[in-house]
C-alpha cells in the first residue's frame, strides 16, 4: 500500500522543462502577491460525518482535522494527497455544499470576510467556481450550452449565449457541441466544457477538484495550461489532485494532504535534488517515491478514518519520531517560506 502515493502519471522530463518556462514568468508575480492578504484563508477546519455502521449503530467519522491553507490571487496552490483521502470534501466544505450529515468546524475567510454558510451560498458560482472531475457532474439530460450558461434571467439569455459561444470558440469546441448531451462528449471535450463553466462565471477563486484523471499526456498538459491561464489573469486557483507531478508542473505552492490534514505547505522550488529543502519527512518520502527520483516507496499505510491517534498523524511511519511526537498534534510552524506540522523541524 505504501506506493499508493505515487499513483501519478509517469511524466517525462521533457514536458517538465516545457512548463518550466511558464513557471519563471509567474514566479515574479507570485512574489509580489505574497505581501498581500490571502484571498481565501482556511484555518484549522475539521469535518466529520454522522453515519450508520453495521447493525444500524450511529457513528461519527472524522475525515478532515486541523486543516489550514491559504490561497492567493494569481497563484496556484496544489493540494496533493492520495486518492480517497477526503480532498474533494475540502472543496465541498469551502463551497458549502457538504451533505446534511456533515459537521464542519473551524474558520474560513474570503477576501477578509468571515465565510459563513450564508456567505458561501451567496458567492458560490459567482466569486468561487468549482471545476469538477468528470462528466458525472453534468446533467445527463440537458444540452451542453444550457448547462454551461446555467440558470440566468430570460433577458440576459441572448448575451450569455454569445459569451458561452466565445468561450467555447477559445477552447476549440465546435458549434455542434452546444446541442450535445454530456454522454456524447469525448474525455478531452468534457474537460474543456467543465473548465468553460468556471470561465463563464468570472470567479476570482477557482477550485479544481481532480481535473486530470486518466488523461493522456497531451490533454493533461493542455488542461493544466487552462488553469495556468486563469492564475495569470489574476485568479486564485486551488488544484486538488493525487498527481504530484502534474501539480509540480504548474503550481506555486504545494500543500501535502495526509489522512485528513495538511502536513506541509511547500514552495514548488523546494522540490529538487533529494528533497533536502522539504520540511516534512512525508513530503520528502513522497518526492523520493517518484520514478525519476529514487523510486522508493515508504512502508506502512495511512491511518484509517476511524483510528484514534493522539500524537502526530504520521507517527507510525516516520523515521525520525521521538517521544514528543506521540503526545499531541505538532504545532503549525513557519519554516523557510513554508509551513509544516512537525516537531523535528526548526
Amino acid at each position: 500500500m505504501g506506493y499508493m502515493e505515487n499513483m501519478g502519471n509517469m511524466g517525462n522530463m521533457e514536458n517538465m522543462e516545457n512548463m518550466g518556462n511558464m513557471e519563471n514568468k509567474t514566479k515574479t508575480t507570485a512574489k509580489e502577491k505574497k505581501k498581500t492578504e490571502a484571498l481565501l484563508k482556511v484555518e484549522n477546519i475539521s469535518l466529520s460525518f454522522i453515519q450508520y455502521a453495521s447493525g444500524l449503530r450511529q457513528t461519527e467519522l472524522k475525515v478532515i482535522s486541523n486543516l489550514s491553507i491559504e490561497a492567493h490571487s494569481g497563484e496556484i496552490l496544489a493540494v496533493v494527497g492520495s486518492s480517497g483521502s477526503g480532498k474533494s470534501l475540502l472543496a465541498h466544505a469551502i463551497l458549502g455544499i457538504l451533505p446534511s450529515n456533515a459537521k464542519l468546524d473551524g474558520k474560513m475567510e474570503y477576501n477578509g470576510q468571515q465565510l459563513t454558510p450564508e456567505k458561501k451560498e451567496e458567492i458560490r458560482g459567482k466569486e468561487i467556481a468549482l471545476v469538477p472531475q468528470s462528466t458525472n457532474y453534468l446533467d445527463p439530460l440537458m444540452r451542453i450550452s444550457n448547462q454551461v450558461i446555467g440558470c440566468v434571467e430570460e433577458k440576459n439569455e441572448g448575451l450569455m449565449k454569445k459569451v458561452q459561444r466565445d468561450i467555447f470558440q477559445k477552447y476549440d469546441l465546435k458549434p455542434d457541441v452546444d446541442r450535445m448531451f454530456p454522454h456524447e462528449l469525448s474525455g478531452g471535450m468534457t474537460r474543456r466544457v467543465l473548465v468553460s463553466t468556471a470561465v463563464m462565471s468570472s470567479a476570482k477563486l477557482i477550485i479544481a477538484d481532480e481535473p486530470t484523471p486518466g488523461l493522456d499526456e497531451k490533454t493533461l498538459n493542455e488542461t493544466l495550461s487552462y488553469f495556468k491561464d486563469m492564475a495569470n489573469r489574476g485568479c486564485a486557483v486551488i488544484l486538488i489532485t493525487h498527481d504530484i507531478e502534474a501539480a509540480l508542473k504548474i503550481s506555486d505552492k504545494i500543500a501535502v494532504f495526509y489522512a485528513g490534514t495538511v502536513l506541509e505547505v511547500a514552495n514548488v522550488e523546494d522540490f529538487k535534488n533529494n528533497g533536502e529543502n522539504l520540511r516534512h519527512p512525508y513530503t520528502r518520502a513522497l518526492w523520493n517515491a517518484l520514478p525519476q527520483n529514487k523510486f522508493q516507496a515508504i512502508k506502512g499505510h495511512q491511518p484509517m478514518q476511524d483510528e484514534v491517534i493522539d500524537g502526530c498523524i504520521f507517527y507510525e511511519r516516520c523515521s525520525k519520531k521521538n517521544e514528543l511526537c506521540s503526545k499531541g498534534i505538532p504545532q503549525l510552524k513557519s519554516v523557510n517560506g513554508g509551513v509544516v506540522r512537525c516537531n523535528n523541524v526548526s
Binding site: 444500524l56 485528513g260 476511524d306 484514534v308 491517534i309 498523524i313
Partner: protein, 285 residues
C-alpha cells in the same frame, strides 16, 4: 483524527438507537398480528350466535364495532375474518415462496431454463392480477379452495425475479470462481456460498408478499369468487355491508375495512424494518 466511534441516540424513540427502534417495531407489530390470529381461533363459533334482539346496533362499549342484521358482534366477526385473512395470506405466501425458490434456482441451471422462466413470469404478468386470480379460482372449482390456490399461484413472480437476479449476480463474484477453480462441487458452492446470501432476501420477500396476498384474497372474496357467505372473511363482511349502506349502518363497513388496512400496514412495516436490518445502507434517513 481524534474522535472515532460515538453512538448517537436521538429521534422519536429517545433513549433507543435505530437498531433497537427497528427491532421494537418488528416485535410489537408481530405480537399484534399473532394476537389477532390466536384470538380468532380462541373465539369459538358460539360467540357468533345470532341474536335478533340486538341487531343493527351502533358501536358501543359492549359491541365496539356494532352488530349486524343477525345481531352478531361485528368485532368478533372482524377478528375471525382477519385471522383467516392472515392464515390464508401465510399459506399463499409460503406456496408462492416455494415456487419462487424452485423457479429461481431452475433458472440458474441453463440458458433454456432461464428464458423459459423469464417467459413464464411475463405470461403471468400479462393479465391483470385480479383477473388472473379469478380465472385460476374458476379453474380450480371456485370457493375458498379456488381463491386460495389462485392467490398462492400468482404471487411468486416478483420474488422469482429477485432470486434469479441475485443468483446471477453472485455467480459472477470472484470467490465463487475461486471455489469452482478449487474443484468444489456445484452443490457445495450452492449451499456454502449462494444460500446464505439468498435466505435473508427470500425471508424478506415472503413477508413483503403477505400484504398483497391478503388484499387479493379479500378482493376476490368481495367480488363473490372466494369464501362462502357463512365463512368468516373481511371480503364477505364488506360485500354484505353494501346492502345496508343506504340504511346508514356505516359501522358494518368502516371498522372491518379499517382493521384489514391496519393488518396490511403492520405487515408492510415489518417488511420495511426487516429490510433496514438486512441492508443498513438504505437506512441513512
Amino acid at each position: 483524527m481524534s474522535t472515532a466511534v460515538v453512538t448517537v441516540n436521538k429521534g422519536v424513540f429517545r433513549g433507543f438507537n435505530l437498531r433497537q427502534k427497528t427491532l421494537l417495531i418488528i416485535g410489537f407489530t408481530s405480537l399484534l398480528l399473532l394476537a389477532i390470529v390466536i384470538s380468532s381461533v380462541e373465539f369459538g363459533d358460539e360467540s357468533l350466535h345470532t341474536n335478533f334482539g340486538s341487531k343493527n346496533l351502533n358501536p358501543s362499549p359492549e359491541h365496539p364495532f356494532g352488530t349486524d342484521w343477525m345481531g352478531r358482534d361485528m368485532f368478533i366477526r372482524t377478528l375471525k375474518g382477519l385471522g383467516s385473512s392472515i392464515m390464508i395470506g401465510a399459506f399463499a405466501s409460503t406456496i408462492s415462496t416455494i415456487l419462487a425458490i424452485i423457479l429461481g434456482l431452475l433458472s440458474s441451471t441453463g440458458k433454456i431454463a432461464d428464458s423459459f422462466i423469464a417467459w413464464l413470469v411475463d405470461l403471468f404478468l400479462s393479465i391483470p392480477h385480479l383477473l388472473l386470480i379469478i380465472l385460476i379460482s374458476i379453474g380450480f372449482g371456485g370457493g375458498a379452495t379456488g381463491v386460495i390456490i389462485g392467490v398462492a399461484l400468482t404471487h411468486w413472480t416478483g420474488l422469482t425475479r429477485v432470486v434469479r437476479a441475485e443468483i446471477k449476480q453472485l455467480k459472477t463474484q470472484e470467490y465463487i470462481h475461486i471455489s469452482r477453480n478449487l474443484g468444489k462441487s456445484k452443490w457445495w458452492i450452492a449451499t456454502k456460498h449462494i444460500f446464505p446470501h439468498l435466505i435473508p432476501q427470500i425471508f424478506l420477500g415472503t413477508i413483503l408478499m403477505f400484504p398483497h396476498a391478503i388484499l387479493h384474497e379479500a378482493s376476490a372474496t368481495f367480488l363473490g369468487f372466494g369464501l362462502s357467505p357463512h365463512e368468516p372473511a373481511i371480503g364477505i363482511i364488506l360485500s354484505e355491508s353494501m346492502k345496508y349502506l343506504s340504511a346508514g349502518y356505516w359501522w358494518l363497513a368502516f371498522f372491518p375495512g379499517l382493521s384489514l388496512l391496519i393488518v396490511v400496514l403492520a405487515f408492510d412495516m415489518i417488511g420495511e424494518n426487516l429490510g433496514k436490518l438486512i441492508d443498513p445502507k438504505n437506512a441513512h434517513e
